[in-house]
């Protein structure tokens, strides 16, 4: 077993060796290095064919038509293109946008930008388990709502939203539905026909593909129009100009092919590991799970170990690569905005750790993780004045703390 153990698959995944092998075929003079837009020679034709195959593989994963796939640099760009592109195109119809407080910053910051441009944004408050109910969306939809952007799986807490229900509501309201599927693609089933989604963002590096590549699904029936954000050679039907990165696109296609073939077996294995980890730590005192357990992606578990500060725990767990919702791991000194939106106390948000499990995680690694988590929680609680107070039966919320 190699240390440290990687348990941060929601941040990024290693490239699958099969994907890397595919990628290398499109780089050197011996390979198919051509520009897919070159129509006049076989170098171009070969590259174009590789792009076509990849487009097909991505479309296949989500039951879409290959012509509905636009390549981008990643989910951040896809989110920007989808939300700004649709808002700008349909801005004459209305200026109202709906999203939620637990979206990724790529969505929230894009919405903030649109607010500066004169759009009005409603930020839905999720339930305490992280779910945004269809009823909440229904209540927020208005005649002038042009875009709804809600994520499929949350990056911090892994909860799965009811996209199909959002799809019904948005279609009935003639509103564009954009879904950020960076954390769900390749991990849970996505069927664009059944879900009635108009725009979906994908990221290569969250599904064992390379960084720097992503995709945007743009529905053709009904036809969704976008105002381009990147202008140039008219690539990707004018929606996203820029020479196609053949090697990255082929790699993303291969990653999607593997995901489609192996998803159900992989999910079963990953879920067993996740449950093993959870069972290994959940009998300790004052351990809280953040986010719904009923609607949750297999690879994610987000736990608050009360009375232990998250960053010091991350430091103690130096043999585990995990991330924390503690303020101290961010430059902003604010604890996780996602956990706060769930109504979690700041203390619990500061004490949270996200474990994300994936394709290459082993049972041995999980068992080792459980062992060192237990040791260090004990050690840090022995050092924690709040733990002492809890043990003495003092309610720490009753104390008048001197806030800084």
């Amino acid at each position: 077993m190699k240390l440290p153990i990687y348990l941060d698959y929601s941040a990024t995944t290693p490239v699958d060796p099969r994907v890397a092998a595919k990628m290398i075929q499109f780089l050197t003079a011996e390979g198919e290095f051509g520009n897919p837009s070159s129509r006049s020679h076989r170098f171009g034709w070969q590259a174009e064919e590789a792009v076509d195959i990849a487009r097909e593989q991505i479309a296949d994963l989500i039951n879409a038509d290959p012509r509905e796939i636009i390549f981008t640099s990643g989910a951040t760009e896809s989110n920007n293109l989808a939300i700004k592109g649709a808002a700008h195109f349909y801005g004459k119809k209305g200026k109202h946008i709906i999203t939620s407080k637990t979206e990724h910053k790529a969505v929230l910051d894009t919405c903030r930008q649109l607010e500066r441009e004169g759009y009005e944004v409603t930020y839905l408050d999720p339930q305490t388990d992280g779910i945004v109910t269809p009823a909440q969306l229904k209540d927020a939809l208005r005649e002038d709502t042009i875009v709804v952007s809600l994520m499929h799986v949350n990056n911090e807490i892994g909860v799965i939203q009811d996209i199909a229900a959002y799809g019904e509501l948005c279609r009935a309201n003639k509103t564009i539905l954009h879904v950020d599927a960076a954390q769900s693609a390749g991990k849970i089933e996505i069927d664009v026909q059944a879900m009635k989604v108009d725009l979906i963002s994908f990221s290569g590096h969250k599904m064992y593909g390379p960084k720097g590549i992503g995709a945007l699904y743009v529905c053709r029936k009904p036809r969704v129009r976008l105002e381009a954000q990147m202008h140039g050679g008219g690539h990707e039907r004018g929606m996203r100009s820029g020479t196609l990165a053949t090697h990255q696109i082929a790699a993303l296609g291969e990653a999607c092919r593997i995901a489609k073939e192996e998803m159900s077996a992989e999910n079963e294995r990953v879920l067993a590991l996740r449950n093993r980890l959870l069972e290994g730590v959940s009998d300790m005192e004052e351990v809280y799970i953040n986010g719904s357990m009923d609607h949750r992606v297999a690879g994610n578990i987000n736990i608050s170990f009360n009375y232990v500060e998250g960053e010091s725990l991350v430091m103690a767990l130096k043999d585990l690569a995990v991330s924390s919702g503690s303020a101290c791991t961010s430059a902003s000194l604010e604890p996780s905005y996602v956990l706060r939106a769930l109504g979690r106390d700041d203390e619990l948000a500061h004490s949270s750790i996200r474990f994300s499990i994936g394709r290459f995680t082993t049972e041995e690694e999980i068992d080792y993780a459980i062992k060192i988590i237990r040791q260090n929680i004990g050690r840090l609680r022995e050092m924690s004045p709040l733990w002492d107070m809890y043990k003495e039966g003092i309610d720490i919320s009753s104390i008048d703390w001197s806030h800084h």
């Binding site: 500060e309 010091s312 430091m315 050092m383 800084h404």
Partner: protein, 128 residues
Amino acid sequence: MAYSEKVIDHYENPRNVGSFDKDDQNIATGMVGAPACGDVMKLQLKINADGVIEDAKFKTYGCGSAIASSSLVTEWVKGKTLDQARAITNTEISAELALPPVKIHCSILAEDAIKAAIDDYRSKHPNK
């Protein structure tokens, strides 16, 4: 975030973790910070009849830098008079531990903990 070796040393081998009886007349207790901010430091000093700090203990809920700052001050205050201890500043603490700018508040908290403990002692012994 990369930590200095001194922070890691204090974090992995914290000095003087523990508690004294806070009701003891010779014990001064200072508790500063707030759980919502992610840092709570409890510093306790054992002070002899000559007004010299004989021993010190701490418990801290907080990040590695907060734990290291409190561990460091328990070492520094020992053998000092109350006035000498009060003169310890956060800049000395952050310089010793090579704290990055975002962690300066940890050293401020440690300085505040010393002052809070001394204030507690003076409230128990108004004449000293």
